[in-house]
Symmetry: C2
Subunit: 193 residues, 2 copies
């Protein structure tokens, strides 16, 4: 029976491989990244990668799952708060912004490299992604209902915010001033008088 310490060590090694992979994926792109380079970057032999993961694809899947799960778990407590939709929405976006900004490399990668694996049976991260989207959409709908948000197609609003989020917090190289993104979002969502 394997000790807790041994399991923890094993997980640390897997994480080291994932982080090394991410650094090279991000620099070169997935396809231009070789297992040799991943091995070198993470400090293991190439065969060792296959000891912990079944394939290059498997490494990618683990990175995606790790990132989306962490994002979801980071905002989960905000989801259950019993407050108005606008406040809740801003709270979640604020929290997401924080998590994403803390690990821009991971989340930049997550948001721009989704089509590498197209097989729906091999996309375990989708469940967290879909939960997140569903929750945000639900809050937007309630916000429009209660006239706390501008009266636009909620589906469209969702996409618009996704576009803003991505372009300003992920792709943007310069750090935003405090609340800049949030202020823009608030103005954008402001109902018409």
């Amino acid at each position: 029976m394997i000790s807790k310490r041994k399991v923890e060590e094993r997980n640390q090694r897997k994480l080291a491989i994932l982080e090394g992979s991410l650094r090279v994926f991000n620099e070169l792109g997935i396809e231009k990244t070789t297992m040799d380079e991943i091995a070198h970057e993470s400090g293991f032999g190439k065969a060792t990668l296959y000891y912990y993961f079944t394939s290059k694809d498997d490494v990618f899947v683990h990175i995606m799952e790790y990132g989306w799960k962490r994002l979801w778990e980071g905002i989960e407590s905000r989801v259950v708060e019993n407050i108005g939709p606008r406040k809740k929405f801003i709270g979640i976006i604020r929290k997401m912004g924080k998590i994403v900004t803390e690990d821009k490399i991971l989340y930049g990668f997550l948001f721009t490299a989704p089509n590498y694996i197209n097989d729906p049976n091999k996309q375990p991260w989708k469940i967290y992604q879909e939960r997140l989207y569903a929750i945000l959409q639900s809050i937007i709908e309630k916000g429009i209902e209660k006239k706390e948000f501008v009266d636009l197609n909620p589906n469209l609003l969702m996409k618009a915010i996704g576009g803003l989020f991505h372009q300003l917090l992920i792709s943007n190289e310069e750090d935003l001033k405090d609340n800049e993104f949030e202020d823009m979002l608030k103005n954008f969502l402001r109902p018409k008088k």
Copy 2:
């Protein structure tokens, strides 16, 4: 001396290859696309591709240049109109939306596959791209100056609009209703009272 008709035929063949390539690039992604598949899709033998283009990368470069050039040339006449920044901006965005919606496959590809070639000396499409961005940014700055736009960092606004544009006109699978995007943009740009 080659006749005009022969030159035109040659260009038509090159275009056929580019369109075939784009279809497969879009479906499979650049790296998963083989020259064999491009050949099959465009109705030529593989060696024929190399008769017209120097390499797979060359095909990609031609697609990028073709698309960005067309976009730039499509809005060029609006740039020189002697009207207010807000009107001009909306006019350009409207025109861009039209061009992009008419060839979603091409522009979807253009906006999501920029890092395939990183060598700055091999990115001829950048000149059109940069012209376009510079013009839009200049108009935004004038719009803020004249209080026709919300008073935010123009660089940020630029990025935000890029995010909206991408997410709503490119990534969005459902067609927008007439003016939906434009209305949202107007709302977004609305100065605070």
